[in-house]
Subunit: 445 residues, 2 copies
């Protein structure tokens, strides 16, 4: 479908291209415009019907948005701003340079300007930052018929009419009612009889992640947001929540690999930003590994007496690190999904202890057999390695299981206890255990 | 709010408890019932209104569901089955033992039984396995008025009426129309003039993950599912898609830590299952680390000549592994979100090469300074270590960046190129590079 329109545009048959485009989904239109030279993109964009143009505009990245705003007339800016939902408006304005913001705000009315400024003030991680202000508000004294006619009058500009909110004269949230219930009920019924008063809602400053959790728990499509005086000020819709969920997951993936999180996509991020997001943790981890190295140096005498011990160090540290990373990852994920709380600490500890003993035993036995069969070393080396392996894996499981829970309890992000950190901690543990056993078995130190 | 009801139940005032309960959200009711002794839970459950009981039943875990079904009458089973949406019915039946399934199916009508059997046949990872069959179907010859009256008649039993689907006499999907458009349009308008013919849909066998991607891309609330003859057979709603997204993310987190994925929550998984899911990869990785060990053994002569070199091995392997894990994690996540494709391979390679050189240079310089200042070793040791570090980090970045893309291209899950695997590969690379430099600088081998 793309080829045909691209060919028309290539041949400057923009009117024909437009004719096909306006039947498309806005996301597809945006994707096509993204592949077209900017001057033609602009001409095509200006040919779109007002409402569609605004929808496409909302989908664009900020570079395209800036180019468009800087190329169109005040009148056209005004049209777009009129049609944009408030959450998209704010997302757009947040990314623009000051002079563009000024020009855009000049082309909006007083009330919109006030709302924009309010929304811009909510912290990035708050429910307020993802809400929109276009929702249907009803009064409980209305009949179904009156409510429906109110919706017919005002619904066109609302982000959703699937759920409507019932508010008092002071704009306090009193209940909600689905469009389905309205349609299926008798016209003369009062909303007060129909509405659901047990509404799940959040405050403007509630954390985005917490908000996403409530959506997921109660299978919501939209949720109202109230200010600190309990007045209804906006709604959040599920499509924005899905973005929050994926964003949080990406952040967690990155943190687990010791990368400072960034909001930009990989291909859009410059080499210096990428390097900057990674170098700090690489430094920290490199320096802690130096500490591990100094443990080895401390036991250099032991090693030079039984040189064979050296070659098992990578296996021991590696297995300990992997065993710990498995546990910490499982627990971190369960914490993120609210499946585990602090009160489960001892349950987790006990479970990890048993899993650890079981896994450690099997690994140690297999490893002992392998060393005795394949490696030209004496039995005391094998015993040192396998006794250490047994202890290290067991410790790794328990430590990996409880550190994230403790981190969360003391208000640290549990994810920092992921693989690189836990591995570094366990590297040191592995070596201490290893040399302790070596000293015992070989009576050296 | 929980305490009060729990107290009433404690004192056997079940009727009073029920009175409070029926005002609650179903998810909260289910959560409360989960905390009550089973006999009281059952009595309370049977006191709930039919429709609410079915909704609560759908939220329960399979253990509770089985207990209830085994304790209630055929008549009551029939009532629940009548009210359950088809996707919840299938989820429930999938987890029941054969005798329970038999009894349940005996208490459903012929058509439902046929539909259940059909749905049970869709593979676990397909769109068909998460769809439901309760949707509103309209005909394009209908007027808005007729459509609304059709919805009023049949809408009560549908999972959503927010989007309705227009089908032909052969049940082929012809278009969709939102309830919002219906309500905001003049009663005499024909659906054929209003409906959107550019509908995003999937087939029953489309992958769940692909389905979730389409939802996210187009901000959908529900999406139609067609069979291989293009007949509309069901719809998928966004709440189920969110569960798919979180499930896929959990799976990826687990795979990245070398854990075999499982669908159960951590606390519900037994010690043996947990151990089983982890032990295989621990074995594999332990054995590959043995290979790393044998590299050290091969160069034992070198090490015994310059024992100081040993203490830098953990730092070198650790930093290489971390640098590679950063790159592979970023790329794996971008692949999962469809931000990167195979055609970007060289772009990624080039970017990682530059990031790698930059990071490697900084790490090597800092490390050189640190060694010269703090460690009692000669300059050739420092040179060996830092030259190796520079090469290893650069290689790690490039390899970490491209391996996941290549894995995807040859239809392997890119996630297997995550931290433990890439780390193990890079461990070997680190040692080879290290000993190569050592041989050069010290003229030994």
């Amino acid at each position: 479908m793309f080829e045909k329109v691209l060919e028309l545009i290539e041949n400057n048959q923009l009117a024909a291209a437009r004719q096909l485009l306006i039947e498309w989904n806005v996301v597809d239109i945006e994707q096509l415009l993204d592949e077209v030279p900017q001057d033609k993109m602009l001409r095509l964009f200006r040919m779109l019907p007002k409402e569609l143009a605004a929808e496409v505009f909302a989908e664009m990245d900020s570079e395209q948005q800036q180019y468009i705003v800087e190329s169109i007339t005040d009148r056209e800016i005004n049209d777009i701003m009129d049609e944009l939902y408030m959450d998209d408006t704010v997302d757009f304005i947040e990314e623009m340079p000051a002079n563009v913001v000024k020009r855009v705000l000049r082309n909006t009315d007083e009330t919109t300007r006030k709302t924009i400024n309010q929304l811009l003030n909510y912290p990035d991680d708050s429910a307020g930052s993802i809400m929109t202000t276009e929702f249907v508000d009803l009064k409980k004294e209305m009949t179904v018929e009156k409510a429906l006619s109110h919706i017919r009058k005002t619904g066109m500009d609302k982000e959703t009419i699937d759920t409507c909110y019932v508010i008092s004269a002071q704009r306090h949230l009193e209940g909600e009612i689905s469009i389905r219930k309205l349609i299926l009920s008798a016209p003369e019924t009062l909303l007060s009889e129909l509405m659901d008063t047990n509404v799940k809602f959040v405050q403007t400053l509630t954390d985005k992640e917490e908000t996403a959790y409530i959506f997921r728990k109660y299978d919501l499509i939209s949720m109202p947001v109230v200010d600190n005086e309990n007045r209804l000020v906006g709604i959040i819709t599920v499509d924005d929540v899905i973005d929050v969920i994926e964003q949080e997951n990406t952040e967690d993936f990155h943190k687990m690999a010791a990368i400072a999180p960034s909001e930009k996509e990989y291909l859009d991020t410059g080499v210096f930003s990428l390097a900057k997001n990674r170098i700090v943790w690489l430094f920290v981890l490199m320096l802690s590994a130096t500490f591990t190295g100094s443990i080895i140096r401390f036991y250099e005498a032991t090693l030079s007496q039984v040189v064979a011990l050296t070659s098992y160090i990578p296996m021991l540290m590696g297995t300990g690190g992997n065993a710990g990373a498995q546990s910490s990852t499982m627990i971190i994920r369960s914490l993120a999904l609210n499946e585990i709380e602090f009160k489960d600490l001892f349950k987790v500890m006990w479970k990890e202890l048993r899993v650890g003993l079981l896994a450690a035993f099997m690994l140690a036995v297999v490893n002992f057999a392998r060393i005795m069969i394949f490696d030209p070393v004496d039995v005391f080396v094998a015993l040192t390695v396998c006794a250490s392996l047994f202890c290290v894996v067991t410790i790794a499981k328990v430590v990996g299981g409880i550190l994230p829970i403790i981190a969360k309890k003391i208000h640290l992000d549990p994810v920092i206890m992921a693989s690189p950190i836990i591995t570094t901690i366990l590297d040191a543990v592995s070596l201490f255990v290893y040399f302790a056993f070596a000293s015992t078995f070989f009576h050296i130190a």
